[in-house]
Symmetry: C2
Subunit: 172 residues, 2 copies
């Protein structure tokens, strides 16, 4: 038995997006308990030239949206050019989950050998096949930003355990 | 076209292990240039109750070795119970790559529905199928530890860019 492209993309993205949303609940609870402005947490970063927590969440959503749109050949979901607070970040994660789940699985599964072109923020482009996009780029990028969001919160003193990254046990 | 279990596991692990090894080269060069004891870098962590850089590298290797051994039903590679320096960490990454590449791909591909049991350091166990092990646990854990190793180095001031996490473009 093999793995479908949909299982390896949407099937991985959605549960970890839910975990990311739950990490933001921990951030909110931590801020409430310590009377910290949540905006301070969202602005934290591990190095001056790395993305903030707010941006890490945005990048996780972005890689899900762009890879699903590229694979299925549909218009990517876009968010307003505003600075989201925790509630808005959670709403964007929920919208990203809805978008990913709304893409027809057969459209993604059919894209394994399809040529797709990813456009970076710089405007630079890189060609992929659907399969190489998922295995070598989008899933690694996705986990990079989720893990770094988790790392920023741990560094900020939020009481998380590894299970908060992994989420509840589930079938593939 | 679908993705084989081997492509989704060894095919992902090996290039990112190479990237991790290259991150350690950057750490060594940084330590040399600033006359920092490399052991200080290897002992850094993002929170007092998180693993150090040295341990993050060890965990990345461990998840590769244990998942490949569980899937293929072979004896996992084991390392001496010593405190590795950068050269030894790089040697262990190279040995992990050799181990992963030495597992017969058909043995991994045949394990999608196989029941496997992962044993945590605590002694607790969790049952998986081969496919759920890879998609929901081992690959996410692997990327968690690679991204966190990268994050520790960025936080320590080592001049890395995202490409150092992603590695060179490649086919899936």
């Amino acid at each position: 038995m093999t793995i479908s492209l949909h299982e390896a993309s949407v099937g991985v993205f959605v549960p970890y997006l839910r975990n990311l949303s739950a990490l933001l609940d921990h951030a909110q609870a931590h801020a409430d308990a310590r009377r910290i402005d949540p905006d301070v947490l969202l602005g934290m970063r591990l190095a001056p030239n790395m993305y903030s927590l707010r941006q890490q969440v945005g990048e996780a959503n972005r890689h899900v949206i762009l890879s699903c749109a590229l694979l299925a050949g549909c218009v990517p979901l876009a968010f307003a050019d505003a600075t989201p607070d925790i509630a808005e970040l959670k709403a964007r994660i929920a919208a990203t989950i809805d978008f990913a789940q709304g893409v027809p699985p057969p459209a993604i599964d059919a894209a394994a050998d399809k040529e797709v072109v990813f456009t970076f923020r710089s405007g630079a482009t890189r060609p992929f096949t659907g399969k190489s996009l998922i295995l070598t780029f989008s899933v690694p990028q996705f986990f990079f930003h989720i893990a770094t969001a988790y790392d920023i919160l741990r560094h900020a003193g939020v009481a998380l355990v590894k299970k908060d990254f992994l989420g509840p046990p589930r079938e593939a």
